[in-house]
């Protein structure tokens, strides 16, 4: 069986003066059907650019993207349109990604019109079904985006992405603009929809707790490259790349007993215009040696792949974070969940 998505050594270089900004610089990964792969990393690491390259929303400078075994880098415009029916995207900013002049119903029906799916009556019926699926009501179809909250707009974006029954949905920071309680609703919705329709997600995010909750596998990016990729528990329990370790160590946990355990990584992200030679992370890495400054490290390969010269000799990080949560808190949280479920059932 072929992978749903196979990304091989893709690159995006933007010319800048004499050099080039290497936004994405040789990224490879695969995504299976029904799987969620998270791409994490900080601003400027190239994760959003990678997402857009995968959908060919921007043209590649190099490399290959295969979808169901088909090379999408060589598609004609008509073929590309057929591909887009199978691969959709949900954007980060629900305020900027909906057309303010289109009624919500029309926004959701538009992709079906573009792809010539169904009759107008069928499209309308499907649109109303989609509104229900994402937790909105049929009368919302007549309204404009400004009448909705951020969370509701994100639901509209999700309904639009699902309108053409895609196999792959790229979620580009789908919850980072939302309030905490709304974030949880949207995260739950995405998981429900994935289970129901067997969707595959390429999930772009910077919030590692959200990633831990959503993903099956996680790829960590730094300055245009993937530095580590592994099954999520392997990555969180045994992070091997020094950058992954720094990222995990920087998460503030909802646990005052852990105060002061955060160890900040020194320095700033170097400019992608002149990335450091050798391993891009060596300027901030506590384990860097001479070889890191000269040679590009190669991925170790395998299910837990690390791109670090010292991957095999680094000291273990120590026990993974195990939070303390009081019995009272656990009991009350369970009460809340129960009561909440009971009310939802009663309605």
């Amino acid at each position: 069986m072929t992978h749903l998505l196979e990304v091989i050594d893709i690159a995006k270089h933007y010319p800048a003066g004499k050099g080039a900004v290497k936004a994405v610089d040789g990224v490879s990964f695969t995504l299976e059907r029904g799987e969620t792969l998270a791409l994490v990393g900080e601003s400027g690491c190239g994760k959003s650019t990678t997402a857009r390259l995968v959908l060919r929303l921007i043209e590649l400078s190099g490399g290959t993207v295969r979808f169901n075994g088909e090379d999408i880098t060589a598609l004609s415009p008509a073929e590309l349109r057929r591909f887009r029916r199978k691969a959709q995207i949900i954007f980060q900013d629900p305020y900027a990604s909906l057309n303010p002049r289109l009624r919500v119903g029309d926004t959701i029906m538009e992709p079906m019109e573009v792809h010539g799916i169904g009759t107008p009556a069928e499209r309308r019926a499907r649109m109303e079904e989609l509104l229900g699926l994402v937790g909105l009501a049929p009368y919302h179809a007549q309204r404009y985006p400004h009448e909705f909250s951020g969370g509701q707009r994100q639901r509209i974006g999700i309904a639009r992405a699902l309108a053409v029954q895609p196999e792959l949905v790229v979620c580009d920071e789908p919850v980072s603009a939302l309030d905490v309680s709304i974030q949880a609703q949207v995260v739950n919705l995405l998981k429900d929809l994935q289970a129901r329709f067997g969707l595959s997600f390429l999930f772009i995010a910077h919030d590692l707790a959200v990633v831990k909750h959503m993903a099956d596998r996680v790829a960590v990016m730094y300055l245009g490259r993937i530095v580590e990729v592994a099954e999520k528990n392997a990555l969180f329990d045994n992070p091997r790349h020094p950058y992954t370790r720094a990222l995990l160590a920087a998460i503030p946990h909802p646990d005052p007993g852990r105060r002061g355990h955060v160890t900040p990584l020194g320095g700033d992200l170097p400019s992608p215009l002149n990335p450091p030679p050798g391993c891009h992370f060596h300027t901030r890495c506590p384990f860097a040696t001479e070889i890191c400054r000269k040679d590009d490290p190669v991925p170790t390969g395998g299910a837990h792949s690390v791109t670090c010269h010292h991957a095999d000799t680094l000291p273990p990080m120590g026990a993974a974070y195990q939070g303390h949560i009081s019995e009272t808190a656990v009991r009350r949280l369970a009460l809340y969940a129960e009561a909440s479920a009971a009310r939802a059932g009663a309605e």
């Binding site: 905490v180 949880a184 503030p252 909802p254 005052p256 105060r259 955060v262 009971a342």
Partner: protein, 321 residues
Amino acid sequence: MTLLSVENLVTSFRTSAGEVRAVDGVSITVERGQTLGIVGESGCGKSVLSLSIMGLLAHPGRVTEGRVMLEGRNLLDLSSRQMRDVRGREIGMIFQEPMTSLNPVYSIGYQITEAMRAHDPKASNAELRARAVAVLDRVRIPSAARRFDEYPHQLSGGMRQRVMIAMALACKPKLVIADEPTTALDVTVQAQILELLRELQAETGMGIILITHDLGVIAEMADKVAVMYAGRVVERSASADLFDDPQHPYTLGLLGSIPRVDEDKTRLTAIEGTVPPPFAWPPGCRFAPRCPFSVEACTVSPPPLREVAPHHSAACLEAPL
């Protein structure tokens, strides 16, 4: 020692939909050398609260009730000229978006010395420059003397936030209000900034009001916490107690909504529904329409903030659960 105490503050906005109380009877205190965390989501009134304390409310907002006591002086009684002296010198403010809060056409050095000059018009340029470089140095900006002449776009997000902190601290305020100071930053940079704030607090003994929606940041930074929902404080306690003994259903909803790295849950316990806008706030408890524990009495009159455990208050009829 209490540095700031806000007592029963009401901030109203007169709108076409009638008078809206964006902050409705809020009381908080900040001790010297300590951090009060204010948690809440969009529209809970936390930013209006900080603007009310600073005297920066714009028309049609105004404080209609209550007191803002800074070391025994009610700031609400001060003239706008007197308030100008308080801002910067006694209360500093750090905003969320370092890019939009810095003026792109002035050098960062100019922007830092601007406040110093306002409070100390006789100081010479050389003196101001030396002081600004010292402050930049203190917020760990490398080669501070060179950075003095640079513009905001030449700095990274983390550096810009350091500049914002330098500006807030330039006149050595006793109280700093930090409104989502790390929300726009990456997690490793956030860790740097939080550590910096803690160090500076230990050095200067300043009180901090830290406004955030991130319970992880609260756990990391706050000594005491106030949870706000729809213009009111719904729970108030020491930071550790909020996590160990959460009382208000809204607090429980928030805690259930955040995924935890040390936990494998298939579903998060989301809070159903959305925060109502101020003109549609229900009578009684404002969380009642979304609350899984609400009973008839919750919809009648607002539950008072009462002590449910020592030094721990919640505005909920059903607490302790």
